[in-house]
């Protein structure tokens, strides 16, 4: 008798628990109807949770750490970012300015407008190596090296991911932001 | 010996019944000095080499490597310690190559093995260390005392070349079986090629 009872109990359990699960999905389905507008990731509750990338793009926070960007006029060639980088993706070369080269350029206003004594010869960032840890932007004293929210920059060749921030060309365009 | 679903009892482990200490045992945490005293009383004064007092961090009891199995078994089963959990076995290579002051001070040609033990009943953590000769580091395996020792010892062998006598499966674990050398030794030289493949630097 008990085996007989258990058999039907099992069938009952399976039907009831599956019904409960199906009701959850049905509720979720009904919720998305009528809210067909794009919402960002913070919205809780109603609405579809997926977006049709790449036609529609999610608004990502401004603080997001993606591709690096260097404002050339702010760099004082202090080399701190290259030293702290755990994967050594930043290459900086600089030398002391000669008298002819001294054009009276100064460090940025928020860094005291001191005369700039070093000439920046090379500033390369290998974005293929970059691990987006953000340590370089933290140590940058003039805040000229920043992470931008730009995340779509895939290339067909790894060499094209080396960004030379002093010489821009068609193959190596100036990143936006 | 097999149970109803054909699962055989593990062959490699000597002790399968490990004490599950009830929470009702009154906790009495022990310090490194307590451990050193108890070990001296039990195994003789020369068993404990030193009690290493760090400026910061943990306190370590350095013991004779020949008696490590007995010591681990004693610490596991003695009601004053009840160290039922082996947290980790970690090996450190100290060589004279160190450039800093502190490692120069420690510049003995030694591999140190740390056994971190923890007691659920007394809520204390005991750190036992043995010092092994770097040229031929050999120590008895703890696999019969703690099952977790099995893979930790294999890892120590793989990365630092410590030999554990009596280990049931003494093979490399993280690196491929045909790897040459033990990478976490300080004098390890990176291979230029592996099986005909050039290693990128």
């Amino acid at each position: 008798m008990s085996a007989f009872k258990e058999y039907f109990q099992n069938i009952n359990d399976a039907v009831v628990s599956t019904y409960k699960g199906m009701m959850v999905t049905l509720r979720a389905f009904l919720k998305t109807q009528g809210f067909r507008k794009v919402k960002n990731g913070y919205d809780y509750g109603a609405g579809p949770v997926t977006i049709s990338y790449p036609e529609v793009k999610d608004d990502i926070p401004l603080s997001s750490r993606n591709r690096l960007f260097m404002h050339q006029e702010g760099c004082i060639s202090c080399n701190q970012c290259a030293v702290i980088c755990p994967v050594e993706c930043i290459t900086i070369e600089s030398r002391k300015k000669t008298v002819e080269e001294d054009d009276g350029s100064k460090t940025p206003a928020h860094f005291g407008s001191k005369p700039l004594k070093l000439k920046l010869l090379r500033f390369d960032i290998d974005e293929a190596l970059c691990c987006f840890c953000g340590l370089c932007t933290e140590v940058c004293p003039t805040e000229c090296l920043v992470h931008t929210p730009e995340y779509e920059y895939s290339k067909y060749d790894r060499d094209n991911l080396i960004y030379d921030y002093l010489n821009f060309s068609d193959e190596n365009p100036l990143p936006e932001g | 010996m097999s149970d109803s679903i054909g699962r055989t009892a593990p062959r490699t482990f000597v002790n399968t019944a490990i004490h599950q200490v009830p929470k009702s045992v009154e906790a009495s945490p022990k310090t490194a000095q307590n451990v050193a005293d108890a070990l001296k009383a039990k195994f003789g004064a020369e068993t404990v080499k030193a009690v290493e007092d760090q400026q910061a961090g943990d306190h370590f009891v350095i013991v004779d490597s020949a008696k490590i199995s007995e010591i681990l078994l004693f610490l596991r089963d003695d009601s004053a310690f009840y160290c039922s959990n082996l947290q980790v076995i970690s090996a450190v290579d100290f060589t004279p190559k160190g450039e800093n002051e502190e490692t120069q001070r420690k510049a003995f040609d030694t591999i140190e093995l740390l056994y971190a033990l923890q007691s659920y009943a007394h809520k204390h953590e005991i750190r036992i260390k043995v010092r092994l000769d770097r040229a031929a580091p050999r120590v008895a395996s703890a696999t019969g005392i703690f099952r977790s020792a099995n893979w930790y010892e294999r890892e120590c062998y793989d990365l630092l070349g410590v030999h554990f006598e009596g280990h049931p499966n003494h093979k490399r674990i993280l690196l491929p079986p045909d790897w040459i050398g033990h990478p976490l030794r300080k004098d390890y030289e990176f291979p230029e090629e592996y099986n005909g493949m050039k290693v990128p630097l």
């Binding site: 990731g41 | 679903i5 502190e102």
Partner: protein, 382 residues
């Protein structure tokens, strides 16, 4: 449990059978990464299972030896890449203890919020993929929907979604803004009802229960001898949680329960109970987050710590991560770079249980067992 071997032997008397060696992985969706298991099976029953690891070995320990302490933090987050915040927390706590730093209350509270949010995100992934392993696709999507909200909060806090590099010796790298705190509050209000839905959808589903209950039972004795920790240990009914028993970062101030496997279904220590401990822990995490966010102390988000710390000493310290207790053994010699960093990962040691636990199992149950111990191969191999 039914005696399958006997039944098979009776039916197949006179037939010759031989053991078959099957290779599972390393590229297999149910191995949760690149784990290879060599399985010796006798028909449907497994006689031996040898896990073969090391496919994701990235030399974490060697890398940290060659870099400064701060530069090691991005490497710690790449160990367990689905619970990166907790991995970083353990590392910086060990360094702080060596340096003897005093951490401001606000920084401690932020760390608690962050690591509990991380625990929810990590458990959601575990629960969702476990549903996927057991043949249910919907719970996976529902779990990822909610996990996405946490990742979005993290992205606003520290700028990254997965590999955060947020903890620093002395505190955290950025303060929580009022906007973020509001979002966390919204999340704590929103999430419990979603978890109830998850229970309806997966936990109490009778098909799911039949696949997981009474399967892969780890007794408390075995769990202790293997040195298991976290939900795997608590699923075996052993009450041990470092947040309660050896609190760090101010966990002692908050009120929460330690969740144990209580055999609501199945028996203590089986796959279902390990799974359900994770679900219960998410409710507790919400409880902690609510308490911290309500009373977030004012003050600094980081202590005055040296830019390039040079600690001296040796320490082994453990913290309670979503997958168990993660320990760091740091040998610091007073230089800029650590002499040795060793990470004890909870997943590494739980993978070693496979050999013993899988013997006598049915072949399909290996997947159930693997999913329930919730390993991340990044942490197993480091």
């Amino acid at each position: 449990m039914k005696d399958f071997t006997q039944e098979l032997n009776e039916e197949t008397i006179g037939l010759q059978t031989e053991e078959l060696t099957i290779n599972m992985g390393p590229q297999h969706p149910s191995t949760h990464g690149v784990l290879r298991v060599v399985v010796k099976s006798d028909g449907e029953i497994i006689r031996a299972a040898y896990p073969d690891i090391g496919y994701l070995h990235r030399c974490f320990e060697k890398h940290t030896e060659r870099r400064e302490y701060i530069q090691g933090i991005p490497f710690t987050s790449r160990m367990d890449y689905v619970a990166a915040m907790s991995q970083e927390l353990g590392y910086v706590l060990a360094i702080e203890k060596l340096l003897g730093l005093e951490i401001p209350e606000r920084a401690q509270a932020i760390r608690v919020v962050i690591s509990e949010l991380q625990r929810i995100a990590s458990h959601l992934l575990s629960v969702g993929t476990y549903g996927l392993d057991m043949g249910g696709f919907t719970p996976f999507l529902y779990a990822f929907r909610d996990r996405e909200k946490i990742l979005r909060i993290f992205e606003e806090i520290c700028g990254a979604r997965l590999l955060y590099n947020y903890m620093r010796p002395g505190g955290v790298s950025r303060d929580l803004t009022p906007g973020v705190i509001d979002k966390i509050k919204d999340f704590t209000k929103y999430f419990p009802s979603q978890l109830d839905e998850m229970n309806d959808l997966l936990t109490n589903n009778s098909i799911f229960i039949s696949r997981t209950a009474h399967i892969g039972v780890i007794t408390a004795d075995q769990a202790i001898s293997y040195g298991l920790s976290g939900p795997n240990l608590r699923g075996s009914g052993f009450n041990w949680d470092l947040r309660k028993d050896n609190p760090y970062s101010g966990y002692e101030k908050y009120d929460f329960d330690v969740c144990l496997g209580l055999a609501e279904k199945g028996e203590i220590g089986d796959c279902w109970n390990r799974y359900y401990v994770r679900v219960k822990e998410m409710y507790e995490s919400i409880k902690i987050i609510t308490q911290v966010v309500e009373s977030l102390p004012a003050g600094e988000h980081t202590a005055k710590a040296p830019k390039s710390p040079k600690p001296v000493g040796e320490i082994y310290m453990e913290t309670e991560c979503p997958r168990g207790t993660l320990g760091y053994h740091i040998v610091a010699d007073g230089g800029k770079k650590p002499w040795r960093v060793k990470a004890k990962s909870p997943c590494f040691i739980v993978t070693s249980t496979m050999d013993e636990m899988c013997r006598g199992m049915m072949l399909a149950d290996v997947v159930a067992y693997l999913g329930s111990i919730d390993i991340v191969l990044g942490e197993v191999d480091r």
